[in-house]
């Protein structure tokens, strides 16, 4: 019989002002297997943790249930507390009575208290069936793979190589640099982009630890953190290598307008990146009208590409400094942050004109003998104005690369609805994927400035170095396994696994499923696919989940609490 301890958290007033904690404690102490039920003002405080650990020792508890906030933030803390108290961390169960109860039923204290009791009962019924787990470990190949040889990929490669990690940099084009090759200067301080690029390329090419593969595409990736098997197509030749960690730095593309503002018809109407190339060639800019948000912040592509306002500000300043005139026709100037706001102010002071237009009434562009004429409805004046200009620069957003879908599929990492790669957590894990050992940086993730791209690349390189430097990776024990007695070898699980972690093997004269635990990510898809109840997931077994359902039936339907 398990010895379960239940700890109900007041969370100050957060829980206790709605849920009667004392009531829930009294109820919990009557549940089967519970030998101790108590409460804490703040369970996660040092005092709270110490009191729980003391209680574990005094009551010889072998299962711990904490009813408090969400496991998504606090499970690691309580798990490590259990370990310190000598209880396997997988014998801990979290019950959420704050986010899922007190906070959302603030005006119904009686009902909230009854619900908290049922949730605690469900947690206790699962806890009784928890089993200790041993976390697996696997070796790490001390090599990194970086996909994409632009600013992000070069920065990450240089950093990894400087840390003494052998790094393969894969670039599908015949030269390094990506979009940086086309850019003249970098906002906000107008540094020469080619100087930065040359420095980075020299650093990478000069390092013994960095291996550059140009004209090379990713063909196949299998495996998992610590030992990815990578197949490259290097200028038509197949090449295989192994890597412990992978960084995705595939960048983004400039949106090319499809006829908007006379692009393609009216000579002198160019995109921002084409204007960058012209500046790089040393062309005199003359009179320039910049139109912002061409193809972004509109139905179908709602996002703000973030870098276009700052790029236009930077280039408008260059135009003015070269003796030309610059007008930025915008919907909102997005130049937040200290240096960027200064750039905006600087542009205003130096004579760059700003005119606001509305999404429903965009500027009209046509060519006359004297030059291009931009007809703009000025929202502030409330009337139409005409500007004669030599060039119209369309600030188009960065869009995701079409082939990022392929990279995403090969690496089994998600992309958002716009095709940009999706990090594991916007705040807690901003440069890594949920797939362990795969990281992301730069514009592949979201339109980023050069500085942001480099920061992310350095972060990704530091993160990727962790498993490689440690030499071992821990595998969370929520993996699946097959019960050999129940398995009929049908292969449903093999087909259902998104990670190709299951195979059929010979076992005592029959075929059964076998899970490669280092490859299993613990989604449990195979559990639902199994018609024989043979597939089980650690921490989420069918017995444990059934017990929770039984408990809800018992306490909600059979007994009035």
């Amino acid at each position: 019989m398990p010895r379960i301890g239940v700890f109900i958290c007041h969370c100050g007033h957060n829980i206790a002002s709605t849920v009667s904690v004392e009531d829930v404690v009294r109820f919990a102490s009557t549940l089967p297997g519970v030998v101790f039920a108590g409460h804490n003002l703040y369970s996660c405080s040092e005092d709270g943790l110490n009191s729980i650990m003391k209680s574990i020792e005094q009551n010889e508890l072998d299962r711990v249930v904490v009813a408090a906030c969400t496991p998504r933030t606090h499970e690691p803390l309580f798990r490590s507390m259990c370990e310190r108290a000598g209880v396997n961390k997988y014998l801990f169960e979290f019950v959420n009575i704050r986010e899922h109860c007190s906070w959302i039923h603030a005006k119904e204290p009686a009902d909230a208290t009854e619900k908290a009791k049922r949730l605690v009962a469900m947690g206790v019924s699962k806890a009784a069936l928890l089993e200790p787990q041993v976390e697996g470990e696997s070796n790490v190949t001390p090599t990194a793979l970086v996909i994409g040889g632009g600013l992000a990929g070069l920065t990450a490669t240089a950093s990894l190589a400087a840390q003494g990690i052998e790094t393969h940099l894969v670039e599908k084009e015949p030269r390094l640099g990506g979009r940086l090759n086309d850019i003249s200067t970098l906002a906000p301080y107008s540094e020469d982009a080619s100087t930065l690029l040359e420095q980075l390329v020299d650093e990478v090419m000069g390092s013994e630890m960095a291996h550059v593969h140009l004209d090379t595409k990713l063909q196949d990736v299998t495996g998992f953190v610590g030992s990815f098997n990578v197949v490259l197509n290097e200028a038509g030749k197949k090449k295989e290598l192994r890597a412990g960690a992978i960084i995705v730095a595939t960048g983004a593309l400039d949106f090319v307008p499809t006829g908007e503002y006379g692009y393609g018809d009216v000579a002198g109407v160019v995109t921002q990146i084409e204007f960058e190339k012209a500046l790089k060639r040393g062309e005199k800019p003359g009179r320039v009208v910049f139109i912002q948000c061409v193809g972004s912040r509109q139905p179908g592509r709602e996002y703000c590409s973030r870098i276009c306002c700052n790029t236009s500000l930077k280039n408008a300043l260059k135009v003015v400094e070269a003796g030309g005139t610059a007008t930025i026709v915008h919907r909102d100037i997005m130049s937040s942050g200290t240096v960027w706001e200064e750039l905006y102010r600087n542009a205003s002071e130096k004579g760059v004109q700003f005119i606001r237009y509305m999404l429903g009434d965009p500027p009209r562009i046509h060519r006359e003998a004297a030059g291009i004429v931009a007809e703009i409805y000025d929202e502030a004046l409330g009337e139409k104005i005409q500007i004669e200009t030599d060039r119209v620069v369309l600030a188009t957003p960065l869009i995701s690369r079409e082939d990022s879908a392929e990279v995403g599929k090969l690496l089994k990492v998600p992309r958002d609805k716009h095709g940009f790669f999706l990090e594991a957590h916007v705040k807690l894990r901003p440069i890594e994927f949920a797939t362990d050992g795969v990281f992301v940086c730069g514009c592949a993730r979201w339109p980023s400035s050069a500085k942001e791209t480099m920061s992310q690349a350095l972060g990704a390189a530091a993160k990727a170095a962790i498993p490689i430097k440690r030499g071992k990776v821990v595998i969370e024990a929520i993996t699946a396994w097959a019960d050999a007695d129940k398995c009929a070898g049908c292969g449903n699980c093999v087909a259902s696994c998104p990670y190709e972690a299951i195979e059929l093997v010979e076992h005592e004269g029959k075929k059964i499923a076998k899970v490669n635990e280092t490859q299993c990510k613990g989604c449990g898809t195979c559990v639902a696919a199994c018609p024989n109840d043979a597939m089980q997931q650690r921490g989420f077994t069918t017995r444990q989940l059934s017990a929770m359902i039984d408990s809800l039936v018992k306490h909600a339907l059979e007994e009035s609490l």
Partner: protein, 139 residues
């Protein structure tokens, strides 16, 4: 007669819908206290048997909430959920129950309001259906 308050079980995936439920909580979005969330790693791990078990034992409604299609933490897990749950709904219909007692929906980690909306709607719908008739003849 006292007002009927349905008992509802909800399976939420760890990465999207459970996080969405957390966000609803953090945002203090109020909703009826009938729903009991069970956390699973992926909506694709919800065995149809769990849903059938809950309904057959008298639970008034079962929600299965996952990540939006295309956003699954496990890439394509929810594609399977999207195929499985309609099968469960069909079975319910075939045995004479209202298939509206089981609902599948997608709630992202950023959709606290959507979570609230789904809960309010579902509790309302199930309340309208009345108590699960299997409550008295549980098998």
């Amino acid at each position: 007669m006292t007002e009927f308050k349905p008992t509802i079980l909800a399976f939420c995936c760890n990465w999207c819908s459970y996080a969405g439920a957390d966000l609803a909580g953090v945002s203090r979005l109020q909703m009826p206290p009938n729903v009991h969330v069970v956390r699973v790693m992926c909506s694709a791990s919800v065995k149809p048997e769990y849903v059938m078990k809950a309904i057959s034992q008298g639970i008034d409604g079962v929600l299965v909430l996952g990540c939006h299609i295309g956003d699954c933490h496990y890439m394509t897990g929810n594609h399977r959920t999207a195929k499985r749950i309609p099968v469960v709904q069909k079975i319910l219909k075939d045995i004479g129950l209202d298939e509206k007692r089981v609902r599948l929906d997608w709630v992202s980690a950023a959709e606290g309001e959507k979570f609230q909306k789904v809960i309010v709607e579902f509790v309302g719908e199930v309340a309208k259906l009345g108590p699960n008739p299997l409550k008295e003849v549980r098998f």
